[in-house]
């Protein structure tokens, strides 16, 4: 079975810089700004509070958005989320 070649994933439509901010601030910013990206688009949250590593995926699960990936940054992490509704 041949699969069509997947195009390279597009970059996030919006990047929220929450570096230096403690939870729940990164989650509040994500919740407020996810509606600013089109349906199905990606939004990235940059954060360096270790609590975000648990809270971003957990929030996505609660709110039925898709948690796509966590990427390590020189300082903190980038959390990529897909707006699902």
């Amino acid at each position: 079975m041949s699969m069509p070649r997947q195009p390279a994933p597009p970059g996030p439509a919006l990047t929220i810089d929450a570096l230096g901010r403690k939870c729940p601030i990164p989650i509040i910013m994500l919740a407020e700004q996810i509606r600013d990206v089109p349906l199905g688009a990606l939004i990235a949250v940059l954060a360096d509070d270790p609590a975000a590593r648990t809270d971003v995926p957990a929030w996505c699960g609660m709110k039925s958005h898709e948690f796509v990936v966590e990427r390590a940054l020189p300082r903190g992490w980038a959390f990529v989320v897909r707006r699902c509704y």
Partner: protein, 393 residues
């Protein structure tokens, strides 16, 4: 002030207080001495040991009093690993759940620094280990230790119930798997002793008196007959050679009185407190939007309920509740001495911010809970209003 933090420390039970005051006068002498005052202290200490052993369903000679629950756990973990060490090739293997008390995890970290291999078993979203997954980790741990002569790990650790979210662990099933694999099981019963029957099948059992309404400064360590255990500390004849240092006889008696009292009231209190925590579980999602209640709704400790309010700072929430007259604790970061959130909430994969643990002491009334439920929505709304990130954008 409504004290709703019994899982941190249950207020001293009146029976424990009375026993403590009497024992301060009667049990001060050295119980190791042969004179009259010493013999009287020995008698009181033995009596305390028998009474605690009866409630915990073990033999009196299996039970030692320690200086704290944490010390009991440290001795249990380090002493079991010390007794089974096979230098130099085979590092002993230890299996534990990810949601054990920090004393268990820290003791295991020390074993790892000394060459042990640790396997940490994850939990589901309610904070419970899967007994099959835990059982499967036992032979894996043996392989990690490269000890083919052993059929399993040298130690497995599982709490009876989780003190942060209240979920009861499948300790009896895990004990069966450990027995099959010939692995001694440490059951940390600090959260449940006196509140639920002690699960069977353990090789080592630990608990802490101040969690059951006894005094601070008393823990218990029980080592089942036939369990290989060697003190990791310098030799001392006290407490069956398990716990060094002069025993706290008045504390032991007060601990015994508190445990007996809590145990004797168990069914009535459990019913009453469960009704109150059920009420909180039911109402919270209705009165406070964007709130999640954690832990198993049924198979849980009767006195604990934990929830997170989205978009609220946990530290601020605890402070505001305190100002409103409610003492609660939180698993959110910055609420204890740590900058990290609770390892239990992390392991469950649930939201860690805005977290509140309400744990009811024995005399909690329905009126207190209604007042709490009435106060919480306004406090959360106020904090949500003040946490607007737009001002900082």
């Amino acid at each position: 002030m409504a004290y709703l933090d019994a899982a941190s420390s249950e207020p001293l039970h009146p029976a424990a207080r009375a026993a403590l005051l009497t024992a301060l006068d009667d049990g001060w002498a050295d119980p190791a001495r042969l004179h009259g005052d010493g013999r009287r202290a020995r008698l009181l200490l033995d009596q305390a040991r028998q009474r605690v052993a009866a409630v915990l369903r073990c033999r009196a000679d299996e039970l030692s009093f320690t200086g704290s629950g944490t010390q009991a756990v440290h001795l249990a973990v380090l002493g079991t690993v010390a007794a089974r060490r096979r230098p130099p090739t085979a590092g002993p293997a230890v299996v534990a759940s990810a949601v054990e008390h920090s004393s268990v995890l820290h003791a295991i970290e020390q074993c790892e620094r000394d060459g042990a291999q640790a396997t940490i078993v994850g939990v589901d979203r309610q904070g419970r280990v899967d007994p099959a997954e835990f059982a499967a980790a036992l032979p894996r741990a043996a392989a990690a230790a490269r000890a083919p002569e052993r059929r399993g790990a040298v130690l497995a650790c599982l709490q009876s119930a989780n003190p942060e979210v209240g979920t009861i662990q499948p300790a009896a099933e895990v004990a069966g798997a450990c027995r099959y694999a010939s692995v001694p099981l440490l059951v940390d019963a600090a959260a449940s002793a006196g509140r639920l029957p002690i699960p069977g099948g353990w090789s080592l059992l630990t608990a802490s008196a101040h969690k059951w309404g006894g005094p601070a400064g008393i823990g218990v360590l029980a080592v089942r007959k036939g369990t290989r255990w060697r003190s990791p500390l310098p030799a001392d004849d006290r407490e069956g050679r398990r716990v060094p240092g002069y025993p706290n006889v008045p504390g032991a008696l007060a601990a015994a009185a508190g445990l007996e009292a809590l145990d004797s009231e168990r069914l009535t209190r459990e019913t009453a407190l469960r009704a109150l925590t059920d009420r909180i579980r039911d109402r919270i999602p209705h009165v406070v939007p964007d709130t999640v209640v954690y832990g198993d709704p049924v198979r849980r400790l009767p006195h604990i309920v934990t929830f997170s309010c989205l978009y609220v700072n946990g530290e601020a929430l605890v402070t505001e509740l305190d100002r409103a007259g409610f003492c609660v604790s939180s698993g959110s970061a910055c609420t204890a001495d740590t900058l990290r959130p609770s390892h239990v909430l992390e392991a469950m994969g649930v939201v860690t911010h805005g977290n509140v643990r309400v744990s009811l002491p024995r005399a909690t009334t329905a009126d207190t809970i209604e007042r709490f439920l009435a106060a919480l929505p306004g406090i959360v709304a106020k904090l949500r209003g003040s946490a607007d990130p737009a001002v900082s954008a």
